[in-house]
Symmetry: none
Subunit: 212 residues, 4 copies
């Protein structure tokens, strides 16, 4: 029932998150090797030494950034599917809408670009990310596609391949934003972009045409 938390206390507990937030921004912007801990510390408003009170090394900080960036992703609704009433197309729209709310529209959106850039340098972390995030995310899409195909709503496609084809534009949205989109080119309105993608995808998957 201790509702009041002392500012100091709050600060102390918030520190790791603040540091990781600062680190995420810089890792995304400059890559792992290109990011200096001085800059991370400066952005978080602490001294360089303070970083080492919370993280054993630069690498540990990096892993924490990725892994903490994953937790909220994992919390997301696998539950969404089970209880879902509606067509597979509607479910697909709901899933991606959910993704947008919980990831695409938050600082976590930088994680995919970061993981792509650094997978070569952190293979174990990449495996962890794959097994923890990608496998589960793909599973959500898989079940959605399978439901649609089983119901005759979707055409019969190679599901494993289609999963990636369908999620690719979603990923590119955030990859672009944190790479070339930051310095040049039009950045799309995300809602229009996702809308267009879903329209095309749903239409593309639709079995309707073939009934003609």
């Amino acid at each position: 029932m201790e509702a009041i938390v002392h500012p100091r206390q709050r600060r102390k507990e918030a520190r790791p998150a603040e540091l990781m937030a600062a680190a995420l921004e810089l890792f995304v912007e400059k890559g792992f090797a290109g990011t200096r801990l001085d800059d991370v510390a400066a952005r978080a408003g602490v001294s360089k030494g303070t970083l080492y009170l919370y993280f054993d090394s630069k690498e540990a900080l990096f892993k924490a950034v990725i892994q903490e960036g994953i937790v909220p992703i994992l919390e997301q609704g696998a539950g969404l599917i089970d209880g879902f009433k509606g067509s597979a197309a509607e479910l697909l729209r709901a899933l991606i809408g959910e993704w947008w709310q919980r990831i695409g529209n938050t600082p976590l959106a930088g994680v995919p670009k970061l993981m792509i850039s650094e997978a070569g340098n952190f293979p174990e972390l990449a495996v962890y990310y794959h097994d923890t995030v990608i496998v589960r995310g793909r599973d959500l899409i898989r079940r959605t596609l399978q439901r649609g195909i089983a119901a005759g709503e979707f055409r019969v496609v190679d599901v494993e391949t289609a999963i990636d084809v369908i999620f690719a534009p979603v990923l590119m949205l955030v990859i672009w934003r944190y790479s070339l989109g930051a310095c040049c080119g039009v950045s799309h309105d995300p809602r229009l972009y996702l809308q267009t993608h879903l329209d095309l995808a749903v239409n593309g998957l639709s079995a309707a045409k073939e009934r003609i």
Copy 2:
């Protein structure tokens, strides 16, 4: 009439390309900051000092890698579109098939991942890449979509957005290969992947259904 070229001479002319090929591999794998010039030199089979006979600095090498990696891309056929006899759907398939032949299936396929990773560190280069490669590539897709829409073959969609939605899975194919695909996860058969994508996209774009 000087048909004979000395080995030294031959070597000297081939050197920059050899060095850039080695550098591309390592930059893609480890990023700019994570790549050591010792390793680049070793992979090219020369000493570190030799790099400096051909490139003023690590940054100059990086820029050369990107810019030389672009030349072959630019040489590709915008001409493909003009003379093309066939439906817009067939043209789309032809374009992406061409891309696969000339880029996706060559070492140049590493360039997009590299540019995405380093755009933040080399903004001017990113602008150059955008203006030189991306703008032209998007133009090819744009003309294809416009032709299909004008012919009533494709549905009316927001073309600027659709361009990116449609090219995203193509890019993700090579991005994946040079990132997480290298250490984990199933790597798709590229032909099946592109096939699936094109089927979905063409079907998604198709106006046929709406004629019912």
Copy 3:
């Protein structure tokens, strides 16, 4: 009321001077290009990295060495002349005696040799040194000569030229000490050397003879 200063603190403030003292010795001995920062650091009893906490680059260190070496020189008494009671000859002896006390007999005596050696590599610094040190030093001699000539004590000579002729042996004393004098040849007793020079110079300047 903070009378206590922490050792770290004390050290931090003393560091630049320690580093510059070590650097002066080595720059004088080996020249700018021939001096390794490792050696400077070692002589100052710190690590190489520490140098960069206080100086941005080797060049910045060099400039600081010269410029800080100038400050004590500038503090010296132009005031000596104004209040001086006595003959111009006595004033000349006093000035050079002062120079010996404040420069010739301190580590600053290495600066002239250093500046001579490196003027070609640091032209702007040479200009700064000239304008700040040499011009002022020459002015002291000039006023002394002019006073002596005006009083009929000194012969009429080309003052601008005589300034340098008279100061040359003084400079050579320290130049010699930090160059060939260090490895070969007799090093004069400085007092006898300056005495002899002043006797000759004063006698040479004296108008007495011509009164005959």
Copy 4:
């Protein structure tokens, strides 16, 4: 009696001298460590490799520059003194005039500054230079002073000290020219400078006044 020499031949034999002339300029300007052999070669109009056909190493080139710079100095007239008819003062003027003709007014004038700058880095060479050039040069002055003193023309002074006092302005003339004089400050007219110096010195040495 082969008076005609082929240009090629002439070139070949002149090469070392050309290289040393180029090297002298650069060594004087930038110091030993600061001089790049590329630049020496470029200034001499040959390739870098060619240097190694004539000199074993950079150090060998440096030593040759100094030692060859000495030969003409040694050729100068010790003989001048023996046969000299005239006062010691006239002899002093003649000696320094000779020095001006043979050294001060030639590229060899850069040698003293170079030797001063690099004595610390080449102690053996400094010893050689000292024993070969300085000792002999001082001997010429010594004999002149002794002759003057013996004849009652010069005052009794500490000869060993006076030697250096008297030669210092002569050296400073060329040291200045190749150091700060190159980038700032008035460069004196050498004749006026030497004239002024000799007038002062001769007057300073003169015993006349004391006879009064």
